[in-house]
Amino acid sequence: MGGTTEGDDVTRPGPDIRPSDVAVAVSAGLIDTIATAGGRARTLLGPLARAVLRPPLLPASLWPETPLAALTRSGEARREALAAEVEARLDAVVPVVVDEVLRRTDLTDLVLRHVDLDRVVSTVDVDAVVERVDLPAVVQRVDVDQVVKRVDLDAVAARLDVDAVAARLDVDAVLDRVDLTAVVLRRVDLNAIVEEVLARLDLVALAAEVMDGVDLPEIIRESTGSMASDTVRGVRMQGIAADEALSRAVDRLLLRRGDRTTQAPEHQREPKRADSSR
């Protein structure tokens, strides 16, 4: 309410006196007075009016009220017709007027300045709105590539807890879908790996272990040995057996418990010298 229009007179009688406002106030006062007077008059003059309009000694057809009622009905019909005509004219005129008004008015600015949009939106049932939205169709219209292009994926990735993601990953399922053999054959330099393994492998120790495992010396002895060497070996082993047997017998005779301590001192390395110590 309020606001000025272009038709206001610039030269007013005083800063607080507006003639238009005075005229409206006077008119309203007169209407109120008439309405009040009319109401009081109806209250005071009601019984008299009934007596005048419906004289008791006259039949109803001669009452003065009868033509007045006819006139009232005629007037009402005319009023209704008039109202319909006015309404029709308004139907034709109002859109044009409204259109002209809106054309001259910034409705958006008007709404923004005078309408509490937060209160309006708070009354909106957003869920019902969303339910009615065809989201697939909306998404279909979105150019995802353009959207993604504008997203700083590095920043997103920096905030990503990769460990948590990896913890939830079913590695077995992933591996089941991958042909690891083909991947390795295609992407792994097997020659380099074999070379690295061989470089780290103590081949001498490995060979020694293999030779000891297959008893290569025995194989060589069997393949190159003579009867004499076999005889000597046999004599030695029999001598050792005889030593053991004799030792046990003597120990039993002497009532000794425990084995003999026959381990000799181990060879102690001496520092290398230029001349022989023989």
Binding site: V204, A205, A208, E209, M211, D212, D215, L216, P217, E218, R221, V232, R233, V235, R236, M237, G239, I240, A242, D243, E244, L246, S247, V250, L254, R256, R260, T261, T262, Q263, A264, P265, E266, H267, Q268, R269, E270, S277, R278
Partner: protein, 166 residues
């Protein structure tokens, strides 16, 4: 840390490698050494006989040196033989056959003085070897006095012997 080696020893002999030998093997080795000494003496006698025959064939007769000389020469040959054997390679021929080696308290073959003294003792008191069967460490009288040991050693060279892996 000892490197893994391929042992040339037969598997059945490995547990005994480096352990002091008993009486039987030492006696057999001593017997073989005795045979060697006898062969050497015989050879020397034969060489002398040949020499005398070449020098004076007409007046040749087999020399007779007497028992004492024979025993003394045998003693000397035995001492020299054992001394050289134990000092140079740690074993005599009898030890080679029976797979025995003489070592000192350091686990090495004895030095010349030690080898000589041991040879003297062994030759002068041969019965001292019988102490091996009584000793809990399989030592003879000479071993006990000189802190030497006669060990099983099947390796042909004079390698430092170590205790067999347990």
């Amino acid at each position: 840390m000892r490197e893994r080696e391929v042992s040339p020893l037969p598997r059945e002999a490995r547990p005994y490698q480096g352990r002091r030998a008993g009486l039987v093997t030492r006696m057999v080795a001593a017997g073989i050494d005795g045979l060697v000494v006898g062969l050497v003496l015989l050879g020397c006698y034969g060489a002398l006989v040949v020499l005398l025959l070449l020098i004076d064939p007409r007046n040749f007769s087999f020399p007779d040196f007497g028992l004492l000389f024979s025993i003394a020469s045998a003693f000397v040959v035995l001492v020299v033989y054992q001394t050289l054997g134990w000092w140079l390679v740690g074993r005599t021929y009898g030890g080679v056959v029976m797979g025995l080696r003489v070592v000192d308290h350091r686990g090495r073959r004895p030095r010349l003085p030690g080898a000589f003294v041991r040879a003297l003792l062994s030759a002068a008191f041969p019965i001292g070897i019988l102490w091996v069967v009584v000793s809990r460490q399989n030592r003879s009288v000479a071993d006990a006095l000189l802190r030497t040991s006669v060990v099983y050693d099947w390796q042909p060279e004079d390698r430092p012997h170590h205790a067999p892996p347990r």
